[in-house]
């Protein structure tokens, strides 16, 4: 046991460096996913038929293919078309766009379960469509989307691990280096698993706290509403 702690102390600084990269990629991907996913969902619900078709295609492509394939296409495939990205940019871009497709679906579900009647009531007091979405639909949709969004956050944190395959020095990438340097894969990957667990746990707690703060009586989230 003592040996394990010494080993732990030796490798932890390097693993924490990797953790920082993992957190950055996860945060960036979730942000890109939100920034692209929300407008995508709005187009999916309120857009013209043509735009809806395009957006549905986009969502289906990203949800229907493996993340790793997407990563390789972006990093190894797109340079053939003259689009070259750094490893880190490719990681942000792939995970971000992938998440945007999922987030778009979650937001679409939330917007649709807010219901058309809320929109009609907002229009009836003279709100423009834009204001109705901004002040009536989205505040309710954000509350409803919390459980799915928090699942998406957990998924993205875990899926960042694929980026070591394009040699990004994230937690997983660092772990691979450390474990081959010390010939101690089991101890290393147990520690790595624990770090992922702690990140996911903390992130879930924070999100739950935020969700509680914005809770509205009678506006159950989709998960609790069906329970």
């Amino acid at each position: 046991m003592n040996e394990f702690f010494i080993f732990f102390q030796t490798i932890i600084p390097e693993l924490l460096q990797g953790t920082r990269v993992t957190l950055k990629i996860a945060g960036g991907a979730l942000f890109i996913g939100f920034a692209v996913g929300l407008p995508t969902a709005l187009i999916r619900v309120y857009g013209s038929p043509w735009l809806q078709l395009i957006v549905t295609g986009y969502i289906n492509i990203f949800r229907g293919t493996p993340l790793l394939v997407q990563l390789f296409v972006v990093y190894y495939g797109l340079p053939d078309l003259g689009l070259t990205f750094s490893r880190l940019t490719a990681a942000y871009l792939t995970l971000g766009l992938n998440s945007s497709a999922y987030q778009a679906e979650y937001f679409r579900g939330a917007i649709q379960s807010v219901g058309e009647k809320q929109m009609v009531a907002a229009r009836a007091i003279g709100m423009s469509r834009f204001k109705a979405i901004r002040y009536i639909i989205l505040p309710q949709a954000f509350r409803l989307v919390m459980p799915s969004w928090s699942n998406e956050m957990i998924s993205i944190i875990k899926y960042t691990a694929v980026v070591f395959l394009i040699a990004v020095p994230d937690l997983m990438g660092k772990a691979k280096m450390v474990s081959s340097r010390y010939f101690a894969p089991i101890s290393t990957y147990i520690i790595v698993a624990l770090i992922y667990l702690v990140i996911v746990g903390l992130a879930t707690l924070i999100l739950r706290y935020v969700g509680k703060r914005f809770e509205t009586p009678g506006l159950e989230s989709m998960e609790t509403a069906t329970r």
Binding site: Q118, A124, I125, G126, Q140, T216
Partner: protein, 269 residues
């Protein structure tokens, strides 16, 4: 009343797909007038109200609000809707907002009123519907009757030229309809112009200046309450109204119905 109408509808038509729902309706509502529309389900009453505040586009005919033709091309529909209050059968309150904010959101976000001024106005409207004590509650914490009164306060907040009510009490338990009808009665006394779709016969007799009987997309007959209730010209109106009177008021005699709204006003829960 030689006054100019607040609302004038001329030969209004509305089709969904190939089916014509409103088949040429003309109607005028004068200032301070209360018009109650009755008619079988699926007749186009809700569609008519939705056409009036342009929530659906009429396929034919014209509508004027005061002097302004609101069906004219290029009209700003958001501006028009601010001036037409709408009360829904299902209340449609904004679920994420408190009672007070349900009223003030239109004031601040549509009319651009300052927050504290909007709150003052919001409290005034809640007071009007008897809900000042519930300003900080959320819709889910209110009874159906209270929700509908918030719905009325929300519409009143915009100072509309006319209020449209689409079966405002038909989603309510019978013991809760009285509080909503009382508020509507009070508004009528205050001189609000109202176009009400309702089968509350007591309210219609007591408050309406005119009853409009609609069926299958047409106005079949219209006239003062006494005429429609006691001597309808059309057989259809006679049949329908007697059926409604039976199903809504049980064994009540017409004399009892007449006093119904007034009784509700003094009845304590």
């Amino acid at each position: 009343m030689p006054e100019k109408p607040i609302l004038r509808i001329e030969n209004l038509r509305k089709s969904f797909g190939g089916t014509e729902i409103i088949k040429g309706i003309s109607l005028e509502v004068l200032p301070r007038e209360v018009v109650v529309i009755v008619g079988p389900s699926g007749t186009g009453k809700s569609t008519l109200l939705q056409c009036i505040n342009l929530l659906t586009r009429p396929t034919g005919g014209r509508i004027w609000l005061a002097d302004r033709e609101i069906t004219a091309p290029g009209v700003n529909v958001n501006r028009i809707r601010q001036r037409i209050g709408m009360v829904f059968q299902e209340f449609n309150l904004f679920n994420h907002l408190t009672t007070l904010d349900n009223v003030t959101i239109g004031l601040t976000r549509v009319l651009g009123m300052k927050a504290d001024e909007a709150r003052r106005k919001g409290r005034f409207e809640l007071d009007r519907v008897g809900l000042s004590d519930h300003a900080d509650k959320y819709p889910a914490q209110l009874s159906g009757g209270q929700k509908q009164r918030v719905g009325i306060a929300r519409a009143l907040g915009m100072d509309p030229a006319i209020m449209l009510f689409d079966e405002p009490t038909s989603a309510l338990d019978p013991e809760l309809t009285g509080e909503v009808l009382n508020v509507m009665h009070k508004l009528a006394r205050e001189g609000m112009t109202m176009l009400v779709v309702s089968h509350e016969m007591g309210f219609a007799r007591e408050v309406a200046h005119r009853i409009v009987f609609m069926e299958a997309g047409f106005i079949v007959e219209a006239g003062p309450p006494q005429q429609l209730f006691e001597a309808p010209r059309s057989e259809r109106a006679r049949q329908f109204l007697s059926m409604i009177a039976r199903s809504h008021n049980g064994a009540d005699s017409p004399e009892d119905q007449r006093g119904r709204v007034a009784d509700d006003a003094t009845r304590k829960p």
